[in-house]
Symmetry: C2
Subunit: 418 residues, 2 copies
């Protein structure tokens, strides 16, 4: 069988399993998720054995330590996966939620009902825990998922997926709600993302190249996770203490995440009293500073920023700094260089706070808070499958609701349109 036909079989099985799931109740889904957790815990040894094969290949291929660390499945991480599944099981079922049901002048009642998206193709790289997280979120939200991880974690992913399927079986749910595409052929991704008839949405999680490729080639709608070039803007009326605290946290609490601040904007009225102390605090944490012409003389040890620096997502111990003339210049800079991920203003000025929230075009817009808060757990979603920079459908952290749609329901009593 050729690759396309093989993948279409995956699609057909997923479609069928997803349709059969619609008759199942919330308890069956939750029980499957708890069994998944149990099976992962019970088989931790076998999972680690499979994982060692991947680790060995990665070492032989000369991958760096960070890569190998991301790949590693130890007891703690297996326990975290299991607990993650139990936490998803404990969340309310989003499917079937009815909202806004109201009587219309015609006499019909009209409202929304939440329903699954259908079949989700999850394309991801390196971290094997995504296999369990994604499967848990998809099943809970009534979807079927076709998983395609990177070749570097093939054995780990397959071992995890096998336990997840066994758990579905134990709960009398269709095994094909979770399928893992284990073919080595690279074209598999290219086919999956154009399989409109069988796949309703593609969710990629991985590096820029993966996302760019999927964006260019997919005909199936994509929930996109682009890079985060996040700013903190210190306004003229910023409280000095809050500014210092938030900028340092936004930049240094974790360096490699998409909600880490990559650029500091500061109002010119504060470049004399505030820029120095903030820069010093960042440098103390090992951050290199690349500053504009006005910022440079006020920051010992800083180097000059280029245009490129303002557009860059460093994902590392560097920050760009720009002194701006006023509030409007800050918004213009953000809308020009930002990646519409997460933007924060530090201000005590009521009108500026209000305008910033409205006029800044990003998936999360904040006042006096660290960009690091942009996260499904912090927002109360319980778990997230990614952070979307889509404009359509879902923007920001994507939890169970983001994996559902709203259809209209109409209740009548023999009503007809006149």
């Amino acid at each position: 069988m050729d690759l396309r036909s093989e993948l279409e079989k995956f699609g057909e099985r997923a479609r069928g399993a997803q349709r059969r799931l619609q008759g199942a109740d919330s308890a069956a889904k939750d029980s499957a998720l708890r069994s998944m957790a149990e099976f992962l815990r019970r088989d931790a040894d076998n999972l680690q054995r499979a994982n060692r094969k991947d680790l060995r290949s990665a070492e032989e291929a000369g991958k760096d330590d960070a890569f190998i660390d991301r790949l590693r499945l130890d007891e703690t991480r297996i326990e975290a996966m299991a607990r993650g599944l139990e936490e998803i099981a404990a969340l309310p079922d989003p499917v079937g939620e009815i909202t806004d049901l109201r009587y219309r002048p015609s006499g019909i009642q009209v409202g929304h009902m939440r329903a699954p998206l259908g079949v989700i193709a999850m394309i991801y790289e390196s971290r094997p825990n995504v296999t369990a997280d994604a499967a848990g979120l998809c099943v809970k939200s009534g979807n079927a998922v076709i998983l395609r991880g990177g070749s570097e974690s093939l054995h780990s992913n397959m071992a995890i997926a096998e336990r997840l399927r066994a758990a579905l079986g134990k709960a009398n749910l269709p095994l094909d709600l979770v399928q893992y595409v284990n073919t080595a052929e690279r074209e598999a991704v290219g086919i999956l993302i154009r399989m409109d008839r069988y796949v309703d949405v593609v969710i990629p999680r991985g590096g820029k190249n993966l996302i760019a490729r999927i964006r260019a080639e997919a005909t199936v709608p994509v929930i996109m996770h682009l890079h985060g070039n996040c700013h903190v803007y210190v306004d003229a009326d910023a409280d000095a203490h809050k500014a210092l605290r938030v900028v340092v946290n936004a930049k240094t609490q974790r360096l490699g995440t998409c909600n880490t601040a990559e650029s500091l904007l500061i109002h010119q009225e504060r470049m004399d009293d505030l820029l120095g102390p903030i820069a010093a605090a960042l440098q103390e944490k090992g951050i290199e500073i690349r500053a504009c012409e006005r910022g440079l003389p006020r920051i010992p040890g800083a180097i000059a920023a280029t245009e490129e620096d303002y557009a860059n997502e460093y994902l590392g111990p560097i920050i760009s700094v720009k002194v701006v003339d006023d509030f409007d210049a800050a918004i213009e800079h953000i809308n020009r260089y930002g990646s519409q991920h997460t933007e924060s203003i530090i201000t005590e000025n009521y009108s500026h706070a209000r305008r910033f929230l409205r006029e800044v075009d990003a998936s999360s817009v904040m006042v006096n808070a660290s960009t690091r808060f942009a996260d499904g757990f912090e927002y109360g979603l319980g778990a997230e499958i990614g952070i979307s920079t889509n404009r359509l459908h879902v923007r920001g952290p994507v939890g169970l609701e983001g994996l559902t749609l709203q259809k209209w329901i109409v209740l009548g009593d023999g009503h007809i349109r006149s």
Copy 2:
């Protein structure tokens, strides 16, 4: 200047105008919409003069009466356009609406704020009123729109767009919130739908060929309006009077719309008492009936249905009829042949009503109501830009909310993540 550069200029101007609009308040937008209405009314003569050019070309090209009727702009239709704009002005402003703002354990407040999609490219055919409807809905929801109508209505569309722009000027809003692409070159559409940098969403309205082309070629996200193969299913426990009323209304109240029923399913227990009277009532209204094997002998004058009939959207005086074994067979048939537009069950059975709402996968699912209700005005949206069969973002009638997104807002007081 080549076509691509020219269209990118449209995109740049739209982007700039849309950003400038974010500072404007609701009153300015509403005043622009009311001026649009006023300018269309005042210039009704000139609009009709422009329209006559289009009508003449259509006649010379030998277009049929239905085509020419759709194209015609008479006093009544101009008045309807103007009133439509005033009705949009009277709707609440969706932009900036904050919902679900709640304190999280960390102390931050997290919620949603509704914001415009950005720049919308509207690609449409024949009816010139779409020019005013789309522009009104887009501006009210804070978006800029690039309009591209069919060549058959070029003069009418341009004349309308000119008045809309003049009204924006009067209200001190950027004229480029509404732009009309008047180049004759057919490739314009192909470029617009791949101009990711300048266009945030494409909304096509027109025939199947147009939609299919855009679906295949667009890289910009599309709010799709596919065809409607809608069913009414008469269940074993249907009330005879309601079944008769609803089926006749769903099929015959208007023949050419996407929410018109194209197929009648009936439970085998009702084929003897109910199928005959329903079929006769439809035939009396001039509807041709194509029935399955079991239905055929019970409907004098019916012809045999083929597989193709069950998948067909007739948009005319024909209906397919199928007798099904039971409730599950009805759902299976709908999920197999339906186009996920609008599906209705006629039943007094509580459990079947409940299951139908949940298990049928369509943008509108109804109980004891005519499929013809699937409409923005009937649902209380005030106005609609189309009926979406997307799974992502918006499903069913698309009003002002469908032209917006929800971003996250976070309010803190110097909060940092630990």
